[in-house]
């Protein structure tokens, strides 16, 4: 039997072309994020909050603030990325979309890359874009500020990639939230150290190139392995 004629048929079921899959997945996730509006804003707003709260807690001394600025911005970006992770696959898992994705003719790895890219566009890129304003509030000079932005630009996709592995492994697991942080945190630490380190190296005149290229190396490595690991994690979660 090949299906019963529906009472009302809006449009035929259409198979997705394997090539358009990436774009479709990204577009779909961006659309969903826009619909839920609050989700786009959550990461960004959280980032801004965390960064703005510190001067209030630590005091208004400019020299001190300038010293801790890279650390604060990086930790805030890391936390913002971590908090947005559990939404990466959860809703698709809950409502069965993920099963459909596994079934789709396109390779699952491609879909996963699409989802990770969308995640970065929604919760990573806005942080990079707002960072200059926050840097000014910490009175960072233009050069360290530029290095900071660059390090975030390389670092945030890295956070999304690494986080995706953790998100796939904790899918549907009880108390997943805590577990997720527990898993991703150790993996995030190199990014934090090299990212914040780049700015400090630049300020102290050592040059940021070394740190930044290490960060880029990590990104390349993660870009290669993370989608693969995530795919495996998803398959395990769905079993």
């Amino acid at each position: 039997m090949n299906g019963v004629a529906p009472v009302y048929a809006p449009s035929p079921r259409g198979a997705l072309g394997a090539l358009g899959v990436l774009a479709t997945v990204i577009r779909r996730d961006l659309l969903l994020a826009l619909r839920r509006k609050s989700e786009v804003l959550t990461s960004l707003f959280f980032f801004v909050i965390v960064v703005s709260l510190f001067p209030l807690g630590i005091g208004p001394e400019m020299a001190l603030l300038r010293t801790i600025a890279p650390g604060v911005l990086w930790v805030a970006a890391l936390l913002a990325a971590m908090l947005s992770l559990n939404r990466l696959f959860a809703s698709d898992y809950a409502d069965g979309t993920l099963e459909q994705m596994v079934l789709s003719p396109a390779p699952l790895g491609l879909l996963v890359i699409g989802k990770i890219m969308a995640h970065w566009l929604v919760s990573g890129l806005p942080l990079v874009l707002i960072a200059p304003v926050l840097g000014l509030q910490y009175d960072l000079a233009p050069r360290p500020l530029a290095v900071l932005i660059l390090s975030l630009l390389i670092g945030t996709p890295l956070l999304s990639l690494i986080g995706a592995i953790g998100a796939s492994l904790t899918l549907g697991v009880r108390g997943g939230g805590v577990l997720l942080s527990l898993l991703t945190l150790p993996l995030y630490i190199p990014a934090l150290i090299f990212g914040a380190g780049a700015v400090e190296a630049d300020i102290s005149g050592l040059g940021a190139a070394g740190h930044l290229s290490l960060l880029a190396g990590l990104l390349a490595l993660a870009g290669f392995f993370a989608p693969w690991a995530t795919t495996a994690g998803l398959r395990i979660a769905l079993e």
């Binding site: 703005s52 001067p55 209030l56 005091g59 208004p60 400019m62 603030l65 000014l136 509030q137 009175d139």
Partner: protein, 246 residues
């Protein structure tokens, strides 16, 4: 019931207030324009150059009035919202919603002009000083109020929820304000050399006051315009709106 109260409620009802507000708006615009011209004239042509700050100090003529307005308007907004909550009068709640965007705009202008002033004077766009921080928080309070009202679809609930937030926020304003004492502050207090009684200080003070009056008139005019639009939107299904439209 007391006749006066009934009379008051008559003006407190949207259908009588709508045309009344419409008549008042042009007058407030006219006043705002007059004060603007006088204020700018005082600010740019009468007030002399500052010995220390040069011409940059002229930002004061909008920075200070804008800062004042942002704080006054919050209190006024909270009062209207509180009246709306206590007496369940629709009009007062609408007034509160009408004031919020203008207050937020003045808070933003205070921050903006302050930042532009800070760069030449302090050498930085921003410092985490008590005054500046409290102004930023005020902007957040306005934004929170507006966002909460926008997020709730039923006007009645939006009014009440907004009123509670506005009232709670009012408690916060003086608290933030007094924290100046515990913070070493870069921003001057009432430190204009006004106390010396020089002619320059007097013209400066007048310029600021006249500009503040201009902003007051502007705020009233704009709030009345906005409350008229809100009335039409909210009461679109009532008879008086149909008459008003025709």
């Amino acid at each position: 019931m007391d006749n006066k109260i009934i009379h008051w409620f008559k003006f407190g009802s949207p259908q009588t207030f709508y045309p009344l507000a419409g008549k008042m708006v042009p007058w407030f615009w006219a006043l705002a324009a007059i004060f603007l011209v006088v204020g700018l004239w005082l600010g740019f042509f009468v007030a002399p150059t500052d010995a220390v700050q040069g011409e940059a100090y002229r930002i004061i003529f909008i920075h200070v009035p804008a800062s004042w307005m942002s704080m006054f308007l919050y209190v006024v907004m909270a009062c209207w919202a509180g009246i709306g909550l206590a007496l369940n009068t629709r009009l007062s709640s609408m007034m509160a919603s009408a004031i919020a965007p203008t207050g937020a705009m003045f808070a933003f202008l205070s921050l903006w002009t302050g930042a532009l002033w800070g760069k030449p004077m302090w050498g930085t766009w921003w410092v985490w000083d008590a005054r500046l921080t409290s102004e930023l928080i005020l902007l957040f309070l306005y934004l929170g109020f507006m966002a909460l009202q926008a997020a709730i679809d039923e006007p009645r609930r939006a009014d009440k929820a907004g009123a509670i937030l506005a009232l709670v926020g009012v408690v916060n304003v003086p608290v933030i304000y007094f924290s100046v004492k515990w913070w070493n502050t870069l921003h001057q207090g009432a430190s204009i050399s006004m106390s010396k009684g020089s002619t320059m200080a007097v013209t400066m003070l007048w310029g600021m006051l006249v500009m503040a009056l201009c902003f007051w008139m502007y705020s009233i005019a704009v709030a009345l315009m906005r409350v008229r639009a809100i009335m039409l939107e909210r009461e679109r299904h009532t008879d008086w709106v149909k008459y008003a439209v025709e």
